[in-house]
């Protein structure tokens, strides 16, 4: 497909408008929240992420009284498609913009208000279940303590703060692992790598087997090579394929312990696995030198055949990831152009298996959200045709548009994963929309209530304020 065909035919996210109402006392205590969503996802019912937008709206807060309502609007537009954290960015734009507006009105610190009302362990989530182990408060504390939050602002500059949420997902997952004759391991997964999941899964398998990372190869294999796998979506790949890969490795370890036990003439229960080798579990198991994965692999053909592990599961135990962003912008009062001058992402990864890739997801989410906040928009003509189906007119941020995006990785391990993984891919696109609108409000006094915050729109808002 050509670029313009992609933009015309593969689906944007849904369009949305919403009303939000929040009750806040003068001390910043939030007493109630209400949201009404309208979402348009094309010509067929069920295509918009309305079911995700509502539970995301107040997910960052512990509020005693909430009301969520929504309608889906059917229109002669292209069908909506799943887009990073479907529904959550629009919900955050509404709720976090309102919280920011109230903080400015009451002259309250936006992080303190979120610390006061933010969800914590034991809070009842806005969509029902109790949060057992989450890291929102930790992201807020880290954002408050970060040097960016204390840097004095210059003329025409403003600072915005917003938090964001994504559920994360498990789903149907199938993984195989084969031990090689040279003591290496090959892992076969069905979730294509779009953000560092192969490397992360390789690290988890290496840790479980007790062998170097270089001795593990993770392959994304064809559909027919494994059992059913949901695609890479829902920030699930590192969580779910990783969880299944660890279980597959444990199966292979159990078999390697059996092979060593047979060689030593002892019971398999008397063998333990550590540092990449089978060891006698205690003095009663006899004195046997450790048998490494390489030694077991080399003679597998004569000890019972190939050694592998498999795990198939509909993975549960996924844990939500919360983030808090702080952005500084400068708005040109003559043109309305907004320049992002400083950006901070703080997000809970659970455990950051591969910190550089986690950081990449944080930065990528922020960049995509900045594009949504400032430039990106599908423009339709009166005939219903897309007017800007090329990147010349559909403006995404490029490197020269952005400052270095600072990151802080918070680690509150997810108890539902053997290494504490949550999933980090989607939360990062959620806070930029309201954070940038809040920063523009700080810089200009004008509250932008629709996205993107294009220069003409911001300039018109500034002029309206001046009268």
């Amino acid at each position: 497909m050509s670029r313009s065909e992609v933009l015309r035919a593969t689906g944007p996210t849904a369009s949305a408008s919403m009303d939000v109402k929040i009750g806040m006392k003068k001390d910043g205590t939030i007493t109630a929240g209400q949201i009404f969503f309208r979402m348009q996802g094309g010509a067929f019912p069920g295509m918009s992420p309305i079911g995700e937008a509502l539970p995301c709206a107040f997910a960052c807060y512990d509020i005693p009284a909430l009301k969520h309502e929504a309608v889906e609007v059917i229109a002669n537009r292209p069908k909506a498609a799943a887009y990073r954290a479907p529904g959550s960015p629009m919900a955050a734009f509404a709720v976090e913009s309102m919280v920011d507006e109230m903080c400015r009105e009451l002259k309250l610190d936006p992080i303190e208000v979120r610390l006061k009302n933010g969800a914590k362990n034991g809070s009842k989530s806005s969509y029902g279940p109790i949060y057992t182990m989450i890291g929102l408060q930790e992201t807020l504390e880290a954002a408050k303590a970060h040097p960016n939050y204390a840097i004095p602002l210059g003329p025409n500059q403003g600072r915005g703060v917003a938090s964001g949420f994504w559920f994360n997902h498990g789903g149907e997952t199938s993984v195989s692992l084969a031990v090689g004759e040279d003591g290496t391991a090959t892992v076969m997964i069905g979730t294509p790598d779009i953000g560092g999941s192969r490397a992360s899964i390789g690290l988890m398998v290496a840790e479980t087997l007790g062998i170097p990372y270089e001795d593990v190869r993770v392959n994304v294999v064809e559909t027919g090579a494994l059992g059913v796998n949901e695609p890479t979506h829902g920030s699930r790949a590192t969580f779910a394929s990783g969880k299944a890969a660890v279980e597959a490795a444990r199966q292979a370890i159990a078999e390697m312990c059996r092979r060593a036990a047979a060689d030593w003439g002892i019971d398999a229960d008397a063998v333990e696995w550590k540092d990449g080798a089978a060891h006698p579990a205690g003095p009663n198991a006899g004195k046997h030198p450790p048998m490494t994965i390489g030694e077991i692999g080399a003679k597998m053909g004569s000890t019972g055949g190939p050694i592998s592990g498999h795990h198939e599961v509909t993975a549960g135990g996924y844990g939500a990831s919360f983030g808090t962003h702080v952005v500084d912008v400068e708005v040109d009062p003559e043109t309305g152009r907004t320049t992002v001058i400083r950006y901070l992402v703080v997000q809970d990864a659970g455990t950051a298996i591969h910190p550089a890739y986690v950081e990449g997801q944080y930065q990528g989410g922020a960049a995509q959200g900045i594009g949504w906040a400032l430039n990106e928009e599908y423009v339709y003509g009166t005939d219903g045709r897309l007017q800007n189906p090329v990147f010349l007119d559909y403006r995404i941020p490029v490197a020269s548009d952005l400052p270095m995006i600072d990151t802080v990785i918070i680690e509150v391990p997810n108890p539902g994963h053997p290494y504490g993984v949550r999933g980090v891919g989607e939360t990062g696109i959620t806070p930029p929309l309201p954070a940038i609108a809040a920063a523009i409000a700080g810089a200009t006094g004008a509250r932008i209530r629709s996205l993107p915050c294009t220069p003409p729109k911001v300039l018109a808002a500034i002029k309206a304020l001046r009268g």
Binding site: A82, R84, A85, G170, S235, R236, G316
Partner: protein, 83 residues
């Protein structure tokens, strides 16, 4: 006894109840009991949903055990999609 919380648009299929109590030892038994008591819930259950038991989202794993006491809290959630 599991207290199963229904999202708003499901309640019309359960005589308007927000919480339905069922005797069950597994997620599968919860789904079967719900559908037996309120057949109108059947299509939503068959379409696929996520289940949270005492705060842990355990997916729709029919074999998953549910703690056998009156305090267990179950939420049915729409099956989530991600981008």
């Amino acid at each position: 006894m599991a207290k199963v919380h229904l999202w708003a648009s499901l309640r019309r299929f359960a005589d308007g109840q927000e919480v339905v109590e069922v005797e069950a030892a597994t997620v599968g038994q919860i789904m079967d009991a719900l559908e037996k008591a309120h057949p109108g819930l059947g299509p939503a259950i068959k379409a696929g949903l996520s289940v949270a038991v005492d705060g842990e989202v355990i997916a729709n794993n029919r074999a998953a055990q549910v703690r056998p006491d009156s305090e267990v809290e179950v939420f049915l959630l729409q099956r989530l999609k991600g981008g």
